[in-house]
């Protein structure tokens, strides 16, 4: 593969990686701290995208659109915590599946009711609409670079909050051993509410900034949710650092792996067979990566939970 193309693929992979991290971060903490499985987290991502489209269209400003979407998702997350998730803490996992699957149906169908089933799109902000030249005569969209930068900035901020503040310390303690944290007098319920709302905002923000580069449709949250689960399994439940590492790994494997795999298959197989096997194998790559890690490290790359 030519170097320029490799660079483009690597950038695309990192971009997918930071988006996945924004989604997985809230999910892994909610699960790590309170042992609650939230299948509806992908809906937050989807709603973030829809709200960004609606707000940007209404106000005429992309930036306002993203801000409104992130804030609205924060409020929605807090509201859902009050109305639903608070009651799911300590419940059987299957009851959590039932409730959050119900939320998915409500969210997806509600969006269809308001905006219709057809995909929407969001124009990029004019300031980031161009492309910049890369190595080898290839051009890369400025917006995607901005997306990558924004994602990395939020990730750094999150690392700062979790690594350097008191709340972050409690979060790490909660992911390691929630019962002990509670016994030490920390209000774990309030911590949970905070994580849930902040996680919803992060996922909504991810959806909002992804809106110009993906098709905004009611089902867009599902595949992303599953990739976020792969990230969580790979990184180790409750581990923010592990999630970051795993998210980049998944993003790069998915985009870079496809290119490399095509080149390898073309070299070793006759063209017709390579044409048949390529797409099937390429879409399996990240799951094979997950399988490989599970075989050797069932707890993930950087497990957070203490052995109890």
């Amino acid at each position: 593969m030519p170097l320029g193309l490799l660079l483009v693929q690597a950038l695309n992979g990192l971009e997918l990686g930071v988006l996945l991290f924004l989604i997985a971060a809230g999910l892994t903490l909610v699960f790590g701290v309170m042992d609650v499985v939230n299948l509806a987290h992908g809906v937050q991502y989807m709603l973030g995208a829809y709200l960004a489209v609606a707000a940007a269209t209404w106000t005429g400003s992309f930036w306002l659109g993203v801000a409104v979407a992130a804030l609205a998702c924060l409020v929605l997350g807090a509201l859902l915590e009050r109305l639903v998730f608070r009651f799911l803490v300590g419940a059987d996992h299957l009851e959590q599946v039932l409730a959050t699957f119900g939320l998915i149906l409500l969210g997806e169908e509600g969006v269809k009711l308001v905006w219709g089933p057809a995909p929407l799109s969001l124009a990029m902000p004019a300031a980031l609409a161009g492309t910049i030249p890369l190595y080898g005569g290839l051009h890369y969209p400025v917006y995607r670079l901005g997306l990558l930068g924004a994602g990395l900035a939020v990730a750094a901020l999150l690392a700062l909050v979790i690594g350097r503040t008191r709340t972050g310390m409690r979060l790490r303690a909660g992911a390691t051993n929630a019962a002990m944290l509670e016994a030490l007098g920390v209000n774990v319920e309030r911590l949970f509410a905070l994580v849930l709302a902040a996680g919803a905002m992060l996922a909504g923000f991810a959806g909002a900034v992804a809106a110009p580069v993906v098709a905004v449709d009611p089902g867009m949250g599902g595949p992303v949710l599953i990739l976020a689960f792969v990230v969580i399994v790979l990184g180790g439940t409750g581990s923010i650092g592990g999630s970051f590492l795993a998210a980049l790994l998944v993003g790069l494997t998915d985009t870079l792996g496809r290119g490399v795999l095509d080149a390898v298959l073309d070299a070793v197989l006759p063209p017709s067979a390579a044409h048949m096997a390529g797409p099937a194998l390429a879409s399996m790559l990240i799951y094979l990566l997950m399988a490989g890690v599970l075989a050797f490290r069932p707890g993930g790359l950087m497990p957070a939970r203490s052995r109890t």
Binding site: F87, L98, L105, V233
Partner: protein, 304 residues
Amino acid sequence: MTGVVRGAAIVLFVMLAAAPVAAQLYGNAYLLALATRAAILALAAVSLQGVVGLAGLPSLGHAAFLGIGAYVLLILATAGYGEAALSLPAAMLAAAAFAWPTGWLALRTRGVTFLMITLAFGQMAYFVAESLAAYGGDDGMPLDPAPHLFGTDLLGRATVFHALVLVLLALAVLTAHGVGGSRYGRVLLAARASSERAAAFGFNVARVRLLAYVIGGAIGGLAGWLLAIANGFVSPALLDWRVAGELLVMVILGGVALPEGAAVGAVLLVVAEEALSVATEHGRIAIGAALLGVALLRRARQAA
């Protein structure tokens, strides 16, 4: 509770069995097709109940087995091997062959992580089905020619096929009870209560659980094989993760513990979706609200 579920199961089974008569009476063939589809999904839910309820493994990847069963039939039929006596065991074996390695890997974890991994492997199967360009790729393709049973066209007759599905469903529920009461079932239940204790008694917990997962997968493959015939069409939509979610929801609605509960959950969900889709385009909102309501009500009852 058990009595209520059992009564509902018997009533619904009789109603399903009466569907051909009702379809004849009202001159509405669609009624029979709906009943057949409900019964097939009930069979799929029963196969998942064994994995979730008996073995205690929350699987969110069961749609993959349905899809594999359906695609095996499609691939064999397209290649000219439309004989059911061949394609049926092949479909079940292929589903089991997928369940074995993925189950082994997923069983290295437990609880919610198991759920996430089975979901991920299910999605992998979905993408593979989507990439099968020779079989319609994204769109799927019709099952043509229709499969035959020992050279006859019995499978193509709606009433005969419906009867076959009902017999298989009844057999699956009875077998699930048989397994649940057997020594093997007791070991599974003991491992569900405490895997450490079961291991201390000398049982290989991972192995007994894997066997349950593989058997559940094989019967899921059977359900997929039936579904392909009922639809006359096979597409990746069968492997969508929402299908896996709905199957798990059917099992949970039925109370998890009883095979016939899963069947009741399946029939109720299929009929409710159908009835709502006749009334409104957005019936899934009501279903979603109902699922959320059931979960919160159960939770409130636990707390009280």
